[in-house]
């Protein structure tokens, strides 16, 4: 039940919604993703903007820093999932327990993010 396998853009560069409030980390992730052939929307640092983008923007994968200045990005993830998009958390917290139970099964990338893991998380390749 991987939504990306049914997605029309599967195989090609993904459109990645990047929510990360650290400018340096966000621009590094954007560079890594763009070099891998993906298109990056954002980076977005504010929670309201992230929520709006998750609900309306055109993207395949949402890459979400969990703790933003205005709160957590849990609702952003829920909105992305509700639209059938993938959501991946990026976090400095090692434990999943800080996440609400319904989101604990989502993939998490630990900070500092390893470029190869980032590329593989966004584009797992053919199933």
């Amino acid at each position: 039940m991987n939504p990306t396998t049914e997605h029309p853009r599967a195989g090609a560069g993904r459109r990645v919604l990047l929510v990360e409030d650290g400018f340096l980390v966000a621009s590094m992730m954007r560079r890594i993703l763009e070099q891998a052939g993906h298109t990056v929307l954002g980076p977005i640092s504010g929670l309201p903007e992230a929520l709006a983008a998750a609900g309306s923007a055109d993207y395949d994968v949402a890459l979400l820093d969990i703790s933003l200045a205005e709160g957590t990005s849990a609702d952003v993830a829920r909105r992305a999932l509700a639209r059938g998009r993938r959501a991946i958390f990026v976090t400095g917290y090692a434990s999943a327990e800080l996440l609400p139970p319904d989101l604990r099964a989502l993939p998490r990338l630990l900070k500092p993010v390893d470029p190869e893991s980032l590329r593989r998380a966004v584009d797992p390749g053919p199933p």
Binding site: G22, I32, S45, G92, Y93, A94, L98, K111
Partner: protein, 513 residues
């Protein structure tokens, strides 16, 4: 020889314990002297008549207890000198010897004539005239008390080990023996009963023992028993409350019983019932009050532990975020560097700027940083001797912790560029930089970085890693602080205006760090 406890600074609690021990020694000494005065040496008739009502304290016991009191008084000191210690030991040794001699009298079943050593013939005659039976031997209980107290005084300075164990057993035992003796009087046990044959402590002996035993414990506040009682921890709190109540309540009951207060009102059986219920009530209240205090202490501890766990989580999070930022700085700097040397300089400078901001934040416990000081520190490495200066205009502002890192990083990139290509470049050439700021009532800081036209031409090529530096200047404050940065590079020089919303406040008259 220096005592281990004398080498450390005594706390006020320890000093108080030792002072109390000395006071106890004096009181016990007075009680013993009263026996000798009334009984044996001077035979004051009034005191003799008083003693007739009670039991007959033997003069040996009085002498032994007096010497034990002296020994304790000499030794219960924060800094114990050698002569005092040796005198104390000698006194305690005589106490033990008297106790042992009394036991020997019982074992050998013959008199050693000890009372004659401490009584006058006149006193003995008075006794006979008053028809007081005095067999000359110290009781079993009295001599046991002397031995235990004497040994405890002898072992006053015993290091942890068997000596300490012996005193830790003997002092409470002496206390209980004295208490049993006193309670025997309180409950008016008939003097020909088996109880008195076995214990047989005179009231004055028991009283002196009851004072001496706790004083011996108090004299060494560093030992486990006392350390537990004066401990500021929950255990010490519990010990102070429960122990006091546990010892005091039965004693009060015994005294009340002795005075026949309730029984004269209510009759024997009802009085016994009332005393039992009353002591249960008092003990119950003490236990409940103590337990609620312990609960509060425990709750505080739990809350502290929970907040510590939260803090550790937060610390972990911050460290990982910082590592992620360092990683990002490294990646960006690598992407922009032409060679290793270029990378080294740029990377080192950027990490240094991050460290500076962290240091300034930590120094003020993450309350914020002073903008003027931050600007001075960031530009300092780019100003050599005789080089261009950085002119700072603006009243000092305390910048929030959140804004500190982005502002410092932006300023660092501006200063780096000015140092390489702009008005800070090289001695003599530089025209310097003006940094000015204003703050409005909402806390929004507007900061201007102004480099006049340097005369070495506009900076067409920002140089190695300049692409990233310029991106950082333009994007960092906007992204992380919802502010904006307007950077213009042209023939008129470099102008950069940062708008940092809601991040500053005027220091409220406080001193600058």
């Amino acid at each position: 020889m220096i005592d281990s406890q004398a080498a450390t600074v005594p706390s006020t609690a320890s000093q108080r314990c030792r002072a109390l021990a000395r006071a106890g020694a004096i009181v016990a000494g007075v009680v013993s002297v009263s026996v000798l005065v009334g009984w044996s040496l001077i035979s004051v008739p009034a005191v003799l008549h008083l003693y007739q009502l009670t039991d007959k304290p033997s003069p040996q016991a009085a002498v032994g207890l007096l010497l034990c009191s002296v020994s304790l008084w000499l030794q219960a000191r924060d800094r114990l000198s050698r002569p005092l210690w040796i005198t104390g030991l000698a006194a305690a040794a005589i106490t033990v010897a008297l106790g042992v001699a009394a036991q020997a009298e019982w074992l050998l079943d013959r008199e050693l004539g000890l009372p004659n050593l401490f009584t006058t013939a006149e006193a003995r005659e008075t006794l006979a005239a008053l028809n007081i039976r005095f067999d000359g031997r110290m009781s079993h209980g009295g001599s046991a008390l002397l031995i235990m107290l004497g040994v405890a005084a002898l072992l006053h300075r015993a290091p942890p080990g068997p000596g300490l164990i012996v005193t830790s057993v003997f002092t409470p035992l002496a206390l209980f023996l004295s208490l049993i003796g006193l309670l025997g009087f309180a409950f008016a046990i008939p003097s020909d009963s088996a109880f008195w044959k076995a214990i047989g402590i005179a009231m004055q002996t028991a009283l002196a023992g009851l004072i001496l035993a706790p004083s011996l414990i108090l004299a060494r506040p560093d030992r486990p028993l006392m350390a537990m009682i004066i401990s500021p921890m929950a255990g010490g709190y519990l010990a102070r409350r429960i122990l006091l109540a546990g010892l005091a309540v039965p004693l009060v009951v015994a005294v009340v019983e002795f005075l026949h207060v309730p029984s004269s009102w209510l009759g024997e059986q009802a009085a016994a019932a009332v005393l039992v219920v009353a002591s249960m009530g008092v003990l119950g209240i003490v236990i409940l009050v103590t337990c609620s205090a312990l609960n509060r202490a425990d709750e505080h501890r739990r809350r502290a532990e929970a907040s510590r766990a939260l803090m550790l989580d937060e610390l972990d999070h911050r460290v990982k975020n910082t590592l992620a930022t360092v990683q990002a700085v490294c990646e960006h700097t690598m992407a922009g560097a032409r060679d290793m040397r270029g990378f080294e300089d740029a990377f080192r400078g950027r990490i240094r700027a991050m460290a500076l901001a962290h240091e300034a934040l930590a120094a003020r416990r993450w309350e914020g940083v002073y903008l003027r000081r931050m600007v001075e520190t960031v530009v300092a490495p780019f100003i050599g001797p005789g080089a261009a200066s950085v002119r700072i205009h603006g009243q000092d502002v305390l910048l929030s912790a959140r804004a500190a890192l982005p502002v410092v990083a932006t300023l660092h990139e501006l200063a780096t560029n000015a140092g390489k290509h702009g008005t800070l470049a090289g001695p003599g050439r530089g025209l310097g930089v003006d940094v000015a700021w204003t703050i409005d009532d909402t806390g929004t800081v507007v900061l201007d970085w102004i480099e006049p036209a340097s005369g070495i031409g506009p900076r067409g090529n920002p140089g190695e890693s300049g692409g990233f530096g310029t991106n950082l200047i333009r994007g960092l404050i906007a992204h992380e602080l919802k502010g904006s940065t307007d950077l213009t590079i042209g023939p008129g020089g470099v102008r950069c205006r940062m708008i940092i919303p809601g991040s500053g406040r005027r220091p409220d008259g406080g001193p600058r760090p």
